[in-house]
């Protein structure tokens, strides 16, 4: 297993947000974390990246990373596209992408990867010298994903990629994600409120409710089960 989480508790100050969460992810696979607002989905991603206080075990590629600093987790090959995208608004599109490759050394490969990102997201290429803050929401999201890919990650964490985007853009984004997973074999853990879309992309899903995992099943099974969809996912 590439990523393995067992008995994970997470805390914001004195408040506990996750209770004994457990799940796993294999190399090259796509899984999704579903649930309502406040369920703890974002907290799971932040826990993996060392951004909240945790108790329990997180293993990445056999190494125990619980309690590691964010920068060190990233250097293992974990790229996180956070809630709100985390773009460097004052810097240009190209600089944002260059920052994604900050921990890599080979200039030639980095330049090639930038071109690959532009191939996947042509709109970014048009705006390569523009300040990132002037891009539209959809373009910023693509930039955020592009920046994450510049790490050549083994695991891509995406926090609500569809947030605030028009449906057409979201479909475009998700089809690009599918293609990237197929071409590069990068594993993906996607937090989403848009369950339908996420279940199409992922092969396995976990449902969180107030910090607990309440459902753990293949995506196809959940998508097919009308009762579960109605009561938990609202459609």
């Amino acid at each position: 297993m590439l990523l393995e989480v067992t008995g994970l508790d997470a805390f914001y100050g004195q408040n506990q947000a996750l209770y004994g969460v457990g799940f796993g992810l294999d190399e090259g696979h796509v899984r999704t974390l579903l649930g309502a607002n406040g369920a703890g989905k974002t907290t799971v991603l932040r826990a993996i990246c060392g951004m909240v206080r945790v108790a329990g075990d997180i293993y990445f590629d056999g190494k125990r990373i619980s309690g590691w600093a964010t920068e060190d987790v990233v250097r293992l090959g974990v790229a996180h596209v956070p809630e709100g995208r985390g773009t460097f608004l004052r810097l240009s599109v190209e600089e944002n992408l260059q920052l994604g490759a900050m921990t890599r050394k080979r200039g030639r490969e980095i330049a090639d990867d930038i071109e690959r990102v532009y191939a996947n997201f042509p709109r970014l290429k048009e705006r390569r010298a523009q300040q990132a803050g002037t891009l539209s929401g959809g373009e910023q999201q693509m930039l955020a994903v592009g920046r994450a890919l510049m790490l050549r990650p083994r695991l891509l964490l995406l926090d609500e990629p569809s947030f605030g985007l028009a449906p057409l853009i979201v479909e475009e984004l998700f089809s690009i994600l599918r293609r990237i997973n197929a071409e590069t074999g990068v594993a993906m853990l996607i937090v989403e409120q848009n369950a339908a879309l996420a279940l199409e992309l992922a092969d396995h899903a976990y449902l969180l409710e107030t910090g607990h995992v309440v459902l753990d099943a293949p995506a196809a099974v959940i998508a097919a089960d009308e009762a579960v969809r109605r009561s938990y996912l609202g459609y």
Binding site: L89, R90, Q131, G133, T134
Partner: protein
Amino acid sequence: MTSVREEQIAVPAAEPVRRPVSMRLTGRRLIIAVAVALAAAVPLVATSFVTFQVTEVMIYGLAILGLNLLTGFNGQFSLGHSAFYGLGAYTTAILMHNYDVPYYWTLPAAGAVCFAVGFLFGLPALRLQNLYLALATFALANAMPQILKFHALENWTGGVQGLVVDQPDPPSFLPIDGDQWLYYFTLAVILVMFAAAANLIRSRSGRAIMAIRDNPIAAAAMGINLSLYKTLTFGVSALYTGVAGALGALAVAFVAPDSFTIFLSISLLVGLVIGGVGSIPGCLFGGLFVLYVPNIANSLSTGLAGALYGVILLLVIFVMPAGAAGFVRFVLARLARFRQS
């Protein structure tokens, strides 16, 4: 095309004054009553010098409260309060020295003058944020001594030499001396003004003032008149510090331009932070700190007094980053949780 960047509006952080769960209103009132009783006893049991020092602590506390109203509760950063303190002090000195006004009337006068100047200064300040406001208030603080020394105004201000102020005489029917009377007079003024400030903060206006600090755009969207509240707060803040300055003039019996420099502003700021931004009782602790710690540092080593002061300041900030009030809140919260478990 102008480049655009996003900025989170940086606010001098003041945590909302949450009353600890374990204290009830009567408990609070009891503590205040005891404190006042103790304060009233001081001149009767302590030496003249100590009485004078406690008077000064109260005066500084009041000056810091003025700064607190503007910076702690309303989020407008000011390095210029030494100017208001000096303005209040000189108002008192000039009225008493040149026009023979009795000392007790000079306080409202000082308050009014400072309110007006503060309000007027608050108008252009509306357009300035944070460190730009800091620079503007810094300019104000720098201007004050220079204006006071200005030769054209010498006939009123006494120029570089300053003015002498007569110590207030105690009323004839009370068997106390000048220092003790000054103490009680100051205590009375402090009680009234601190109570008024506490009432203001608890009122709707107080909530509006704090809302402006926490999220100005949201406050404006809720219908709060930002310009009005911000300039009024500037005025009230200047009034408080100005009255403190007036009392200071009476206490020291002397005013001179170089007593009201930017270093006084910095002292007030340090006192504000040490006492606890956004805490009214904290102001008195801040006053205590600003009065005593430099003296302690000086007595330990005259040459390195400044360095020692700096080190003490750092240690206090490391241990109590939210000031004394924050520390007390922290301890009480821990106790409450301990009692719950």
